[in-house]
């Protein structure tokens, strides 16, 4: 499994880590895929759905001669309906995602990537097309393409309009901690919505970011911008209540943003099992399809 990266040394650094991520994602995806089924309605597709007695109006090309020969009437072979949708996936790779408050918790970035890859695999397996938002990768289909998506993942560096344009009437899944000014996000989402793209905002956060479990005198440093003046809070317990309120207010405004566009909003802590998160996301997506 080789990765093509401009920066070879960085690739070396990541090489030991990322395949593990892929495996983890596969594990999550497989445990989920055992339980899903096809579309269960007739359509244009490859998979056989049912035989039906010939009715006037059916194309003679649809007659299944082998089946017809076995019986008295003519039978038509129907395949399952398969309409390939495209899902554009995105995960935030900013510095603030590289955070985990405890040793046994994955970093938010790792969690987001596992979720993205697993979701990609499940969708590919379900016959959908999967693209990576903001990269040059054409939407992929077929389960085997998950490898390519994985390989292209590092190229996804920010929420931009560059890269391959998002196809109309597709789905967008944005996974991030959304720790940045909401107006920026809102304008991006509105541009997508304008092209009839349905979306799903997925917030990943560390439990510590919700509860602020520190005590005493603590010097906080901005993870996103290390140059920023650190903030010394002499008594964290004193501000905890206010912080928690602010945090949930932020989540509410995210939810409201999604609501306005007819999108969905999901939030997971990194302590949530990725399988559970994946199920939730998949359900959110299939409802719309």
């Amino acid at each position: 499994m080789t990765r093509r990266r401009d920066n070879l040394s960085q690739a070396g650094l990541l090489a030991g880590h990322l395949p593990g991520l892929l495996l983890e994602a596969e594990k999550v995806a497989h445990s989920f895929m055992k339980g899903i089924h096809g579309r269960r309605r007739v359509g244009t597709g490859e998979a056989f759905w049912q035989f039906r007695p010939y009715q006037p109006g059916d194309s003679s090309r649809d007659i299944d001669w082998r089946q017809t020969a076995k019986r008295e009437d003519a039978f038509v072979r129907q395949t399952e309906w398969e309409a390939a949708q495209t899902a554009w996936l995105y995960r935030d790779a900013s510095e603030s995602m590289n955070f985990s408050s405890a040793q046994d918790l994955p970093s938010k970035k790792d969690y987001a990537e596992i979720l993205l890859l697993a979701l990609g695999m499940v969708l590919l397996n379900g016959g959908e097309q999967v693209g990576l938002l903001g990269t040059d990768l054409a939407p992929q289909s077929g389960y085997a393409s998950s490898q390519r998506i994985f390989e292209m993942l590092p190229a996804q560096i920010g929420l931009t309009d560059s890269g391959r344009p998002v196809t109309a009437r597709s789905q967008a899944v944005l996974i991030s901690d959304f720790y940045f000014p909401l107006p920026e996000l809102a304008s991006f989402c509105e541009r997508l919505a304008a092209r009839n793209v349905k979306g799903l905002l997925v917030q990943i956060f560390d439990p510590a970011e919700q509860t602020l479990p520190y005590t005493g005198r603590v010097r906080f440093q901005d993870a996103e911008n290390t140059a920023a003046e650190p903030l010394v809070i002499p008594h964290v317990e004193a501000v905890r209540g206010e912080y928690e309120r602010k945090f949930s207010a932020h989540q509410e405004s995210l939810a409201a943003l999604a609501q306005n566009l007819g999108w969905k909003f999901e939030k997971f802590t990194t302590a949530t099992k990725p399988e559970a998160a994946l199920t939730q996301l998949y359900n959110d997506l299939s409802v719309r399809i």
């Binding site: 955070f99 970011e209 005198r217 010097r219 993870a223 809070i233 912080y243």
Partner: protein
């Protein structure tokens, strides 16, 4: 007397620094500890919190308190607080203080404690500004009377106390009471204290003092006495004043004239007893060198025994007529007796009437000396008075058994001849000495042959009286009491006529033993006035009398008594002297009783000053450490603090290792060097285990286990011998490993290197695998020059006699050090061979052998074990067995 705890500061000015503590308090409030830093993603949420942050900036109050406490402790500590429990001497500041001091022989126990206590009192006296009068209760050595000293100032008195020594004679408490009475009646004395030696004191004396200082631990004198009742003068008894609850280990040392220690005896004074009798059998040479016996602790005149002629010498007389006296004839019995006795004894050879006039402890009567009937009666009389007679048999005795009274057992007429023209019998060797015999413990040589002897009548008591017998059970030496004395009969001749007994070492040893059983010079009496020669001081140390002493000669008509006029010691001149030991003239000790109710009782323990500075500084440092940890914890550097804590806790880890080492030295472990090749290491392990079992089963050595060694890291010094098989897989030795092995060898260790390649070559060729590996591994080790093992090497006979050293293979040459260092008892440090011994020795858990041995089968395996046993024996015992065991066989082998 009131005990008041009293705290003073030696540097009180430092306490001024306490004023600075509030300033520090303020500074600490301004400078709170560094906070811990957290990189936080949701920082933007924190940034615009509305809570007022500044107000919350503070140092926790308990941290402030902790720091303030540290500073205060340091300041107080450096002010050097001293806690002392001081007393005030009653009696105000007027008048004089009378200190009555026991300074007789018993006060030598704990003399230092007495002096310290006296000085402590003098300090108190000094504070109250009163003069002191001393009253030693023992009579002065200069005029023989109890005299008071003083009054003098307390400063002067301290110097006087330093000069004092206990006297080697008893106290005169009655006389002291009179003197005290005289002093007190003067009315100037406001307070009187009695420093007791723990022995009973006259009530007159006790009634006059306000305080009695006595202490069972300090006042525990010992008396060492020689038990004159016991034969051989090896009986002693020790007496002490107070019985201890536990057994008391004591040591008695025997000193020579020059004060060097010639022998020692360790004793355990039984718990709950005040008297303990014991015996001490010293070797005659040491015994004769001994000039003084004394307890090592406490040093006291009463626990010191001077020896005199009676102790040291057992003068022996050999009865001989004029013709025999100077005979050099090898058939002359007197010649053999003289040669046997003259080294260790003062010996006279003379006619009986001359001998009986001398102080002798034993007489020896050879058969060839004829005695007249009158002489026989005289001799019998001498024996019955307590003399010790040793007789030898011979033709004269054999012909005149009837009517001879000087015999321990009745004899049959005639002699038993076991060699000669008319007998089939062969000369008979000596048998074992029974435990009841006074000669028990002497080594019986097997080459002593008795060809003729006189026979005891087989009456029942003969068996009890037999001291030494022949192989066939016939008595050779018999002995028994006769009146107060003893008669011993050797049933064969003193010369070579009837046996070769006189050529053997046993002849000398047995005579020596018999003589030491005799009473010494029992009728030695003081004939003339004996001047003092060496006198004991209060600590039992002998010294020549000085000019100030009033010690005078001991005269014949005078009953000795330890007094200033006649202190214990040696009296006489350098030729002829007699010891008067204190112990012999002391009555049984009785403890101090009847202290009047009105008197206070105090112990000799010092009311010590306690300097509290170390405690305060220690406390401050501990709190400082705590503070550091807390600060680190507050900053979140928990890991660092944990490491620090772990370092502190695990700093005790070496002790654990030492425990292991202690286990290693508690028994014998066999060890092998780990080669890193699992198969070979397993064979080594099983091999040494098997060998260890065999050694434990067959010898007195107990092998505790087998240890695998990595020469790089393990200490080697604990193992008497290390097995080192060569393996292709072993990596080269590191420098440390090479140095370790080198050190092991140079400190007397032994390594058996097994190249295990006998099957590939004859061991001569240097190209075999093992040999090459050996050269490679040992290139950094200096191996001494080797030689092929000689026929008479210690390895061939340290336990078993071996010709060959087979292992799994046979015939490989064994190489040993050519010129082993005498520092290591000339024992080879390196043994190199190729026979793969471990394989032959190896046994698995089920006691089954793991390898076939070629070609000799089980016999060869047995030989391999024997080699292993010899090897371990050499490692454990060195060369000492080389010339000790198997001498007859070795002689036979040499062909003599």
């Amino acid at each position: 007397m009131m005990m008041l705890p009293d705290l003073t500061f030696l540097s009180p000015l430092v306490l001024g620094a306490l004023a600075a503590v509030p300033v520090l308090w303020w500074m600490l409030r301004v400078m709170p500890p560094r906070p811990k830093t957290v990189r936080f993603p949701a920082f933007f949420l924190l940034k615009d919190l509305s809570t007022n942050l500044k107000a919350a900036a503070y140092t926790p109050w308990w941290l402030l308190l902790l720091r303030a406490l540290i500073v205060i402790l340091f300041i107080i500590g450096f002010a050097e607080p001293v806690l002392h429990q001081s007393q005030n001497l009653p009696g105000g500041t007027k008048g004089e203080v009378l200190l009555v001091i026991d300074n007789g022989w018993a006060s030598a126990s704990g003399w230092k404690a007495r002096q310290d206590k006296l000085k402590e009192y003098l300090q108190l006296v000094r504070r109250s500004g009163r003069p002191v009068i001393f009253l030693p209760t023992a009579p002065s050595g200069e005029d023989g009377h109890v005299r008071s000293i003083g009054p003098m100032a307390a400063e002067e008195a301290e110097a006087w106390v330093d000069r004092q020594k206990p006297q080697p004679w008893p106290v005169a408490d009655k006389e002291a009471a009179d003197v005290a009475q005289k002093i007190l009646s003067g009315g100037r004395v406001s307070y009187a204290v009695f420093f007791s030696d723990g022995l009973a004191a006259a009530p007159e004396l006790l009634n006059q003092v306000q305080t009695v200082v006595t202490d069972d631990t300090v006042n525990n004198p010992y008396i060492l006495r020689q038990d004159s009742q016991k034969p051989g003068q090896s009986g002693f008894s020790l007496e002490r004043l107070h019985a201890a609850l536990q057994g008391q280990p004591l040591q008695i040392l025997a000193y020579a004239d020059d004060g060097s220690v010639v022998d020692e005896l360790k004793l355990d004074f039984p718990a709950g007893k005040t008297e303990y009798a014991f015996s001490w059998e010293m070797l005659p040479e040491l015994r004769n060198k001994t000039a003084r016996l004394a307890l090592r602790e406490p040093v006291m005149a009463s626990a010191s025994l001077m020896t005199d002629a009676q102790w040291r010498q057992h003068p022996v007389g050999v009865v001989a007529n004029a013709g025999q006296k100077e005979g050099r004839d090898f058939l002359n019995e007197v010649y053999y007796l003289r040669r046997a006795l003259e080294a260790n004894n003062q010996m006279s050879v003379d006619q009986l009437d001359a001998l009986l006039k001398m102080p002798l402890s034993a007489l020896i009567l050879p058969d060839s000396t004829p005695l007249t009937a009158a002489e026989k009666v005289e001799l019998l009389d001498w024996v019955q008075q307590g003399g010790f007679l040793i007789r030898f048999a011979g033709p004269n005795l054999a012909a005149n058994t009837g009517g001879d009274a000087l015999l321990p057992v009745p004899l049959r007429y005639g002699q038993r001849a076991m060699e000669g023209a008319l007998t089939w019998e062969k000369p008979v060797a000596l048998g074992d000495i029974s435990e009841q015999s006074p000669l028990y413990g002497l080594t019986v040589p097997h080459d002593v042959m008795v060809s003729r002897q006189v026979l005891a009548d087989p009456v029942p008591e003969v068996f009890e009286k037999t001291w030494l017998q022949l192989e066939d059970g016939t008595p050779l030496v018999t002995g028994g009491k006769m009146g107060k004395g003893t008669v011993v009969l050797v049933h064969t001749s003193a010369g070579p006529e009837w046996s070769n007994f006189c050529y053997s070492g046993l002849y000398v040893e047995a005579l020596q033993r018999m003589i030491s059983l005799s009473n010494g010079i029992s009728d030695y009496r003081v004939q003339t006035a004996l001047p003092p020669l060496l006198l004991l001081d209060g600590f039992g140390i002998p010294g020549t009398p000085d000019s100030r002493t009033m010690a005078a000669a001991v005269t014949a008509d005078q009953e000795f008594e330890p007094l200033p006029q006649t202190p214990p010691g040696l009296y006489g001149d350098s030729r002829e002297f007699k010891a008067f030991n204190l112990g012999a003239y002391l009555p049984r000790m009785t403890a101090l009783k009847g202290i009047p109710e009105s008197a206070a009782v105090e112990t000799y323990s010092k009311a010590e000053e306690v300097n509290l500075k170390p405690a305060f500084i220690k406390g401050a440092l501990l709190l400082l450490l705590l503070e550091t940890l807390v600060t680190f914890w507050l900053r979140g550097v928990v890991a660092f603090a944990a490491v620090l804590l772990a370092t502190m806790i695990f700093s005790s880890a070496p002790a654990v290792a030492a425990e292991d080492e202690k286990d290693l030295v508690s028994g014998i472990y066999l060890a092998y060097i780990e080669t890193g090749d699992q198969d070979i290491d397993s064979v080594s392990y099983h091999g040494l285990t098997g060998l260890g079992q065999v050694i434990t089963a067959r010898t007195t050595a107990r092998i505790k286990g087998v240890v695998a060694l990595n020469p790089d890291s393990d200490p080697l010094a604990y193992y008497p011998v290390i097995y080192w098989p060569m393996s292709e897989r072993q990596l080269g030795l590191s420098v440390t490993a090479a140095r370790n092995i080198q050190n092991y060898l140079s400190q007397g260790g032994m390594i058996l290197i097994d190249t295990r390649d006998r099957q590939f070559g004859d061991g001569e060729g240097s190209s075999t695998l093992g040999a090459r590996k050996l050269r490679e591994l040992t290139q950094n080790i200096q191996i001494p020059e080797l030689m092929s093992i000689p026929k008479d090497h210690i390895l061939t006979r340290s336990f078993y006699l071996l010709d060959d050293f087979p292992g799994r293979y046979v015939g490989g040459k064994l190489w040993v050090e050519k010129e082993p260092s005498p520092r290591h008892d000339s024992v080879t440090s390196v043994i190199i061979g190729s026979n793969d011994w471990a394989a032959a020795w190896s046994k698995d858990e089920g006691d089954r052998n793991l390898f076939m041995v070629e070609p000799g089968g089980e016999t060869q395996r047995e030989m391999a074990y024997r080699f292993g046993i010899n090897l371990v024996m050499v490692a454990l015992t060195g060369n000492y067995k080389a010339d000790q065991v198997h001498i007859p066989y070795i002689l036979e082998r040499i062909g003599q």
